[in-house]
């Protein structure tokens, strides 16, 4: 994991972003060796996928060269050394790595491992903890994503300009010549990516996966489409305000499952009320909330990407109109 050090030194942001993608991928493979398959899946999709993509779109707007810094790094170095030293100091009393006798393995967790099958009835323990035992955390997580989506929209949304069909066609023609092979291959791939997203969505009970990962994969499919066929075409296929509503529906779906439990006299997010048999209820509840997670995540990722890309088009448009006239005073 020398990648991290290279990131510090390099000035070209493009290379830095690529390296940070590699870093994420390496951590993901580390997570696999640590038996954290769900986490690895997510880290690969998010760290190496979505966030690299967003960073790349961002640098197309902000420029890729980092200025040589004239900072005095000594203070920063001192802060870092103190913090790191404190952490190292803290590690001395930690239980040994991989030790089965560590407190984390003796308290709380054993119940998940031993009883989750009878209490929740889902083989993937991560899913049962995520969606049921600590379902409220996951609800919070969905809201965090929703918040980010709304935040990005509030910052970057621009009123879309009307586009004529002719312009799209001309754009399409030019793209056709450029990326013909890419476009045909990806057109074939797209349905499979989406199919895989659905598989991950509904198979989360049994194997690694679930709403979050599925949402990301689904969003990637849409983004791929947008990148190859142009933003304008993609916008026509997917309506902006419609996606915003989907994002809201995802959160509301999750929340309303909780409210249903409330109305039946049980506590918030107690899924056992959803069916006569508590286990079946848990099953149904997990399925539904995972769907809510998937909906929100996919739509927010698409919103964020479209806002970023839409901003880029908007800037380009501004530049075309007012070349040379610099008006950044206050």
């Amino acid at each position: 994991m020398v990648t991290a050090i290279a990131i510090v030194r390099l000035k070209d942001l493009f290379a830095v972003i690529m390296l940070s993608g590699i870093y994420s991928l390496l951590s993901a493979s580390f997570f696999v060796t640590m038996d954290a398959v769900d986490v690895a899946f997510t880290e690969a999709a998010v760290g190496a996928g979505i966030s690299t993509l967003l960073l790349l779109v961002a640098i197309t707007m902000t420029g890729r060269a980092e200025h040589p810094d004239r900072h005095k790094p000594i203070l920063a170095l001192a802060v870092v050394t103190v913090t790191g030293g404190l952490l190292i100091y803290g590690t001395f009393d930690m239980p040994y790595f991989g030790s089965g006798q560590a407190p984390v393995h003796l308290h709380v967790a054993p119940r998940y491992i031993n009883d989750s099958m009878t209490e929740v009835g889902v083989p993937n323990i991560v899913t049962s903890v995520l969606a049921s035992y600590r379902g409220f955390d996951t609800f919070g997580e969905v809201v965090v994503i929703f918040t980010a989506g709304i935040g990005v929209l509030a910052l970057l949304s621009v009123v879309p300009r009307p586009v004529t069909i002719a312009k799209i066609n001309s754009l399409n023609d030019s793209l056709h010549e450029q990326h013909l092979i890419l476009r045909i291959v990806s057109k074939m791939l797209l349905p499979f990516i989406m199919l895989f997203a659905f598989y991950v969505q509904f198979h989360g009970d049994y194997g690694p996966g679930g709403g979050f990962q599925a949402g990301v994969i689904f969003a990637v499919a849409i983004i791929l489409y947008a990148m190859l066929f142009g933003m304008i075409t993609a916008r026509r296929v997917i309506n902006q305000s419609f996606i915003q509503l989907i994002a809201a529906v995802g959160v509301l779906l999750y929340g309303s499952i909780g409210v249903v439990a409330l109305l039946n006299g049980k506590n918030f997010l107690d899924y056992s009320v959803l069916s006569d048999d508590p286990i079946a209820g848990q099953h149904l509840g997990i399925l539904l909330i995972e769907l809510g997670v998937g909906l929100t995540v996919a739509s927010v990722m698409i919103i964020i990407f479209f806002s970023f890309a839409g901003r880029r088009d908007y800037l380009r448009h501004l530049n075309d109109n007012s070349k040379g006239s610099n008006n950044t005073s206050c």
Binding site: P103, E141, V144, L155, L269
Partner: protein, 492 residues
């Protein structure tokens, strides 16, 4: 439904936020958000009443009992915080519709209200929960929406302020995450109640010490404790006025709450104050904060900056009370928390009215406003008096208790320093009064009128609250006393 109040407190604003997207008109969204916030306020009143009469309320989310599931645990301290947050939020929202007309472009109004509700829900979630990791999740909800809200400010410096806040806030949150991880590693649990039972067994270990240090530093970043306050003045000065009024009154209070909760409930008093030289550290930082920030406030040209620095100084007073670590000291901190929320929301809301009329908060633009906007300026003056700690205002009550607590401990020099700090407040409030009442109005500004009623009414509700709670201290004293006693494990 009464049994579900703790969770309703949080999920009502949380679920209302996405619903806003379905409403089309900005005015409608405002009415809806206001209704939701008022409902949350009602819930918090009921909760407080329940807690005061029958003790701590525990609510198991998902029906899973505590260390396995997440629980909400409402004791007098949480209930007080919930009341402050929802109360201030409702009054501030009352003024929002008028104020943001001038400051935020029309098409972003819906987003503004959604983010506002999310931020509210996030803060309520942090306060209500009894689970350490859940704190982190809701902290992020409130912070992310906070960054976006600040960035909505008109001035381009709002963006830069929001970015700096984002970096500092995320570092703080990550520090807290590291701390929680280390605690979990040593105990195997995330539930605060369970942690407090299991930590004593391992409290001598270096890992727990590190965990505590990271959590405290992380919280202090969020708290803007001197010298980690650098992000705060710009964030407050360039955010939309409504956002400033809301955050100044609530966001740092939530951080203080976390500090108290982790120090007293999770780690326990004996550990917290013996592991680190915390008492002397906080006392020094608190006092330094009071003086450095009050002095900085005197030299500000922007009135929002002035009051932002004064906020940092007020945080200093709370930290001093905290460092006394007796029931009276803690009570003073909590009282000041309650009172400062009232003062600062009144002041910043009055500034929102000034911005609405003259579009600026530079001190030089305040000349002659005393005659042109008499009610708004009167509100600012009363708020300022309260900041100083003049009798018959809330500021007096908390200063009184703080000095009592310090003297009880025999710290005479500290008491003198606190009084000196108040003198600095006199200076910066006087500069404002001088500009507004003793300078002739600027040329070409004869047409400035008093702010509209939709802004004046919320401002004056808060001003009257400032005076009312300064005279009738029964409610605030009773609740803070119960809260600090329950933290010290004494039954009232």
């Amino acid at each position: 439904m009464l049994a579900h109040l703790p969770v309703l407190q949080v999920i009502v604003p949380l679920l209302a936020a996405p619903l806003c997207l379905f409403l089309t008109r900005s005015r409608l969204v405002w009415v809806f958000a206001l209704a939701v916030s008022a409902l949350a306020f009602l819930i918090s009143c009921l909760l407080l009443q329940q807690v005061m009469s029958s003790g701590t309320i525990i609510y198991e989310l998902g029906g899973w009992e505590a260390p396995w599931g997440i629980e909400y645990r409402i004791d007098p301290l949480n209930a007080l915080l919930l009341l402050i947050i929802t109360g201030i939020s409702t009054i501030v929202l009352l003024a929002a519709h008028t104020s943001i007309q001038q400051e935020i472009p029309e098409e972003r109004h819906t987003f503004f209200y959604i983010l506002y509700l999310l931020s509210l829900a996030g803060m309520l979630g942090i306060v209500a929960t009894g689970d350490a990791f859940n704190v982190f999740v809701f902290l992020e909800i409130s912070s992310l929406s906070g960054y976006a809200l600040i960035a909505l400010g008109k001035d381009r410096r709002a963006l830069w302020a929001a970015y700096q806040y984002l970096i500092m806030g995320t570092i703080g949150a990550t520090f807290i995450l590291i701390g929680i991880g280390l605690m979990y590693q040593m105990t195997g649990t995330l539930n605060m109640e369970d942690l407090s039972k299991r930590l004593p067994e391992v409290e001598h270990t270096r890992t727990v010490f590190t965990a505590y240090a990271f959590i405290i530093v992380g919280i202090c970043l969020k708290l803007a404790l001197f010298p980690l306050h650098l992000w705060l003045p710009n964030a407050y000065a360039y955010a939309p006025s409504i956002v400033t009024a809301f955050f100044a009154a609530t966001a740092t209070k939530v951080a203080i709450y976390l500090l108290i909760r982790f120090t007293f409930s999770v780690f326990g008093l004996t550990f917290s104050f013996t592991a680190l030289p915390l008492q002397i550290l906080f006392l020094t930082l608190g006092l330094l904060g009071i003086f450095a920030a009050s002095t900085a406030a005197i030299y500000q040209k922007n009135v929002k900056h002035l009051f932002a620095y004064s906020s940092i100084a007020q945080i200093g007073y709370m930290i001093v009370g905290f460092s006394v670590s007796t029931t009276t000291g803690l009570m003073a901190t909590l009282l000041h928390l309650f009172n400062h929320a009232l003062m600062k929301s009144a002041l910043f809301l009055a500034l929102a009215a000034v911005v609405y009329r003259i579009g600026s908060v530079q001190l030089s633009q305040f000349h002659g406003l005393g005659r042109q906007m008499p009610f708004t300026m009167a509100a600012i003056v009363i708020g300022g008096l309260s900041l100083i700690g003049v009798p018959l205002t809330v500021g007096f009550v908390s200063k009184w208790y703080l000095i009592m607590a310090v003297i009880e401990n025999g710290w005479w020099p500290v008491a003198v320093l606190i009084l000196l700090g108040s003198l600095l407040a006199v200076v910066y409030v006087w500069r404002l009064v001088e500009a507004a009442y003793f300078k002739p109005p600027l040329p070409g500004r004869d047409t400035i009128k008093e702010a509209p009623l939709s802004l004046l009414i919320p401002v004056w509700i808060l001003v009257i609250a400032n005076i009312y709670f300064g005279i009738d201290t029964r409610l605030s004293v009773q609740v803070t006393q119960a809260a600090s006693m329950s933290l010290f494990g004494v039954s009232p």
